[in-house]
Symmetry: D2
Subunit: 429 residues, 4 copies
Amino acid sequence: MIEAKPHGLTTDEGETVLQRYRRVRRATEELAEPLSPEDQLLQSMADASPVKWHLAHTSWFFETFVLAGLPGERPPRADYALVFNSYYDGVGPRIARDRRGLLSRPSLDEVRGFRREIDDRMAAWLDGDRIPADRAALVELGLNHEEQHQELILTDVKHGLHANPLAPVYRPEPAAADRSSAPAPALSWSSFDEHIAWIGASGTGFSFDNEQPRHRVLVPAFQIASRLVTAGEYLAFIADGGYRRPELWLSDGWAAARAADWRAPLYWDDAGGAWQVYTLRGARAVDPAEPVCHLSQYEADAFARWAGARLPTEFEWEVASAHRGADGALAESGALHPQPASSEVGPGPVQMFGDAWEWTQSAYVGYPGFHPAAGAVGEYNGKFMSGQLVLRGGSCATPRRHLRASYRNFFPPSARWQFSGVRLARDPR
Amino acid sequence: MIEAKPHGLTTDEGETVLQRYRRVRRATEELAEPLSPEDQLLQSMADASPVKWHLAHTSWFFETFVLAGLPGERPPRADYALVFNSYYDGVGPRIARDRRGLLSRPSLDEVRGFRREIDDRMAAWLDGDRIPADRAALVELGLNHEEQHQELILTDVKHGLHANPLAPVYRPEPAAADRSSAPAPALSWSSFDEHIAWIGASGTGFSFDNEQPRHRVLVPAFQIASRLVTAGEYLAFIADGGYRRPELWLSDGWAAARAADWRAPLYWDDAGGAWQVYTLRGARAVDPAEPVCHLSQYEADAFARWAGARLPTEFEWEVASAHRGADGALAESGALHPQPASSEVGPGPVQMFGDAWEWTQSAYVGYPGFHPAAGAVGEYNGKFMSGQLVLRGGSCATPRRHLRASYRNFFPPSARWQFSGVRLARDPR
Amino acid sequence: MIEAKPHGLTTDEGETVLQRYRRVRRATEELAEPLSPEDQLLQSMADASPVKWHLAHTSWFFETFVLAGLPGERPPRADYALVFNSYYDGVGPRIARDRRGLLSRPSLDEVRGFRREIDDRMAAWLDGDRIPADRAALVELGLNHEEQHQELILTDVKHGLHANPLAPVYRPEPAAADRSSAPAPALSWSSFDEHIAWIGASGTGFSFDNEQPRHRVLVPAFQIASRLVTAGEYLAFIADGGYRRPELWLSDGWAAARAADWRAPLYWDDAGGAWQVYTLRGARAVDPAEPVCHLSQYEADAFARWAGARLPTEFEWEVASAHRGADGALAESGALHPQPASSEVGPGPVQMFGDAWEWTQSAYVGYPGFHPAAGAVGEYNGKFMSGQLVLRGGSCATPRRHLRASYRNFFPPSARWQFSGVRLARDPR
Amino acid sequence: MIEAKPHGLTTDEGETVLQRYRRVRRATEELAEPLSPEDQLLQSMADASPVKWHLAHTSWFFETFVLAGLPGERPPRADYALVFNSYYDGVGPRIARDRRGLLSRPSLDEVRGFRREIDDRMAAWLDGDRIPADRAALVELGLNHEEQHQELILTDVKHGLHANPLAPVYRPEPAAADRSSAPAPALSWSSFDEHIAWIGASGTGFSFDNEQPRHRVLVPAFQIASRLVTAGEYLAFIADGGYRRPELWLSDGWAAARAADWRAPLYWDDAGGAWQVYTLRGARAVDPAEPVCHLSQYEADAFARWAGARLPTEFEWEVASAHRGADGALAESGALHPQPASSEVGPGPVQMFGDAWEWTQSAYVGYPGFHPAAGAVGEYNGKFMSGQLVLRGGSCATPRRHLRASYRNFFPPSARWQFSGVRLARDPR
């Protein structure tokens, strides 16, 4: 089910599996570097986890799903399953999800030691060159899993630091930072005719089980927007009473907005009379040209209705993304926030990969013929196929290598702490 | 958007609109007949409404969406919008949904008077024969709306009476009732090849906006079961630890089952050591041959997984239902409970219409090109297209005329108080 | 523990026990007369019960605690314990308190029949004249219990009718009603020196176990106000920011006020720009001279602090009430709402009995040497001696016979649906 | 209101205020020493605070209530009021109480620096010898406040570490620890006749405002137990169905016990078939001779009822404590857990001070004539006089100097995380 040979928007050619393993693991640790042990314990809501927990859980994953079956292998800390298992019922009981912030022990130093121990064992084994295909696939799964947690580290610590009234900063803005005031390029539409499309992973590199099987879908004619919706456009929605007009909202969305008193995207604040946005580099004025993000799907949907458009289906998005490059900001850019679209790109939609995940109207369900893998690892994706919506594309917190056109991210429609934005679609005129 | 000429599984040929109006309205009132004014005030949870409220709300609907625009028309009780508007934000404020059980006033007699007043006005107008097409469509919408509330009257009062420790009965079992012990017919499968199917309302009779536009869908090859899952089959699932094995459940479903301590379908009780089921005719032993019902979609999904199958998509269901008749128990049967499948029917699936609604795996979303109607009536369906799943078919509480192959019922996956059951599907072998 | 010979503010001299029984029971039924069967099913919150439930529960009480031990006695409806037992764990399981509004069955007619059946049995037995003292005490307990439920019938149905946006009326204002605009008499203070007082029931008539044992208490010097706080005085508190100034409030009170967004007493509404009050006779303008009521103890305490005073202790109140008559409005007055104090009374505090219950600062705990009765009837009072505050005096909904100086009413500090008001006290100047 | 000259169970004679200040502050820091920065961020429930927060808050208290009014004084970190103000509305807005665990910043190092800065300022000022009496009283208040937080540091970190499935240890048991198996001394009773007692602070040393004014109370005759209830006695209560018998419980207590599924004191666990207790030194077998602690008042009350006794009033306790020494384990003992009573002490109750706080049946309210201090410091005690019960005595986590016979501790009846135990009282036989 899981392909052994990795691929993504960039290739890893010339790299051994061990080199790749080391590079991905190091990238995780670099994300934790600006953070104190205390910062790395923050858990500001049940959906978010402490950074330290991410560091440990990803290591536990390699131990449990890759190393555990090797001859002579015994887990260095069997009791860690109690605290670093995320949700695998097949593996056993565990700490409640909303209690991870209480894990002052093991200490960050101990967690780092645990990571090193797992890395040493992985290295000794990957160096041996006699890796069977099924285990190689699990290594690749573990690396993609780790990349997902790299993104979560950034979104979770952003949420945690923002909960502090002192509003601490993750990384300060570089001294030379200079925010231009260029407006966003005008919005245009790309049109697609009705046709039968192949949807799902191509089979030439790694993909998750939820991207499979590749199958045929009849996609009706549609149009899709040339770029993400901007903060400026969203400000117009707010100014036009967007958060006060029930006719613009889905019933559940209106209830959620009223219950939590939403008046703007998460991290926006107009306390001082002008809209500020809290970013991983601190608070600053909202730039009208930058993509709006940290929206729930309910808000994305209401905005689209207000704009006379709609959210795309995930199939439309996948069709439209064919042959598009990764021109948006990804994790490697160090931007840590979505960037305005360039006005210099040619025809066809831009920002398809990067900047902000794009909410679709598609429920997250299995493709025809979908079957999860056998064993506990089969809990990875399948059991979440209820109550969630698909997001496509990738964000400024996603590693470049992690993405591909068939990639399906998914969150409940009320979730706002991810870098989630909007691309409009509409029926042909 | 709404077709003026009604159709369903049976035709109404030879009937005038007024005759049809009177027949549908009378059917509603007959459902209330066994119930005291106190019974008709019961509201046992926010999802259910008092019978009296259903009687009044359906009348308010005709006043508000049909009569209100007529020359000289003034609502007989303008203040009733405060208490009998269900969810139309475009019409104004209203009592909270979970407070409808506090409407001791207007009294049942006053509500009946209100119904009569609306009926008189409707009759005077429908008798006039100069009804424009758009208003005729709204009459038809009002009648279909009323039929939906007929079903809700039965499901809501069942839930309300069951909340009483004295377990009162809606209608006693007829004296001659004789429950046979014939086993259910063996399960078999019908196979369908991949093809492009037309999905949605045909346009030759009434349909709701959510069945439109009719459009083409590529439906992969599939198999569908010959009848509904039986109580006996479900007992085997329970006996095999179905409610104790997380690997059988979606993550949200497992959480819901644990939170509410589900151990059997709603209305089942094994307090005495043998499974009893509470029905509108009182409690009695579970009949292994009858369809299991009052399941959440989570339970339906877990059962299907346990059985090595899956739930159908709504498209598969619609394809399979073509040319199938209404051989299941419908409201007109007076059965008030799903009935065992007959063992004498020929090839092809039975019980497609009636007995119990059939959970699908399809999220309730708009069809390509869907647009709700203008004005408050546009809130009828569209704003609920989030977080709900489609059910197909119909139940023992649905009027025969109300159903058709394209009909889309929808409820959240946790809902259990409807007559909701399971038909299995699977990928081709 | 419970005295057989009844007393109160009026004597029942010349009445046989049977005559008294009939009079009290009839008074309960008269309270229900203006209400339809539907009205009598209303339950607008867990603390309130349907009127029909009160009718049945009080009858069940006589059956369970008086008749049940008689030779040959069998309860007419043994299953009613499931639905009409209030909180006696010693008697067995029962419907959840907040589900009593779901008891459409037994019908009101059946409940009336049940009352008649109990009344017939009681009459047959009370007529026999061979009543042992312990059972006579239980009859008296049952009658006092019934009188408590008479008050609850009024407060509960008021809450239930008020929940209806149509704001129905319990009893219309008499045609001749003419609200005078006389101002309330000026507030003065009565002074008491430190002394040792006897507190608790005198033993010459009926009293509840929580008024016993009579015991000595050292009561420091204090002053007490001549009348209840008026609506006009409370309006000044509101106008002075009373609901916006945390320094006036107890910590729990401030939290409760913020959580429920209290801005005025329960049943007050300034939607139209002028304060209206909802009463059992409908909504009308607030009369500045009438006592403020439907306050929580938190509000009473905050008002007292704002006024430079404090709430009395229950001992101070009992001392001050000696030799005061029942000059306030009681149930027999038919006023159904607290009335302005008369300006014509002589020295000494007025309104000590009637109009509105008076919050004290005293926690509801047992007196020294308190022991509840043996058996389930011992659950009557004792188990509630935690988390509640004592109120003294009586209200416009209390029967005259029910009250005495030692009477202890009790509710949680957040409760507002009783006729609860404020009398100020202060330390000597 | 607050006396300038400190006293307690031990005298501080010969110490300057500065020496005392330094000693108390140092003691706080020693409590934090075994804990990592991550441990010091733990907040396992809203009632508990992180150790780091305690370190900072107590310093903020000196800055705000002592230093702030001095000429030229400016707070070193004005923004710390946002995060280290506990509940003083008069000082301004602040972080929600249940979010203190999200304060990864300021770091522990920064908080230590803040403490040093405050200490330097206090030292410079206290060294000057021209301290006016009102400020000296505030210094003493600040030191007593700090001692209260010393106890909270231990109870809060115990709760936080216990939330970790790995059950880390605060301080390991000393190598030589040897738990004897001596049984507890037999229980006996001391008798007191009815008399008028002086209750409240004597005025010869520091006391909190809630111990004042000293006043006369008539205390009826009573008997009080010679020692705390032991774990062995509590085990008998459990074995006798104590947690399953509603007749033993107050109504609110039974509801709380059922809602949280209490089956034993907090920190007790019988998972392995034998009762274990989690202590600050790790988990070990329950010693039947040691005092039971970590009980709610509801459990203490139920136990007393089961034992045919009752909880003492706070006045009884204060009368009984006269002339009793501090023979129980206090913070200075390093025991970190209540210790068995010695069998060698003479007549009169032992363990009155130390080992475990003793729940009383007395509501926490102001004494006659009580007035809080002017300004924000007046919020210290008074606004909590609602819904809480008084505990008397002191515990193994209380500094010896902090206690006196008139000391009133207070918590809601449901609180279990303090070192709260039971001493029985009863009416004379």
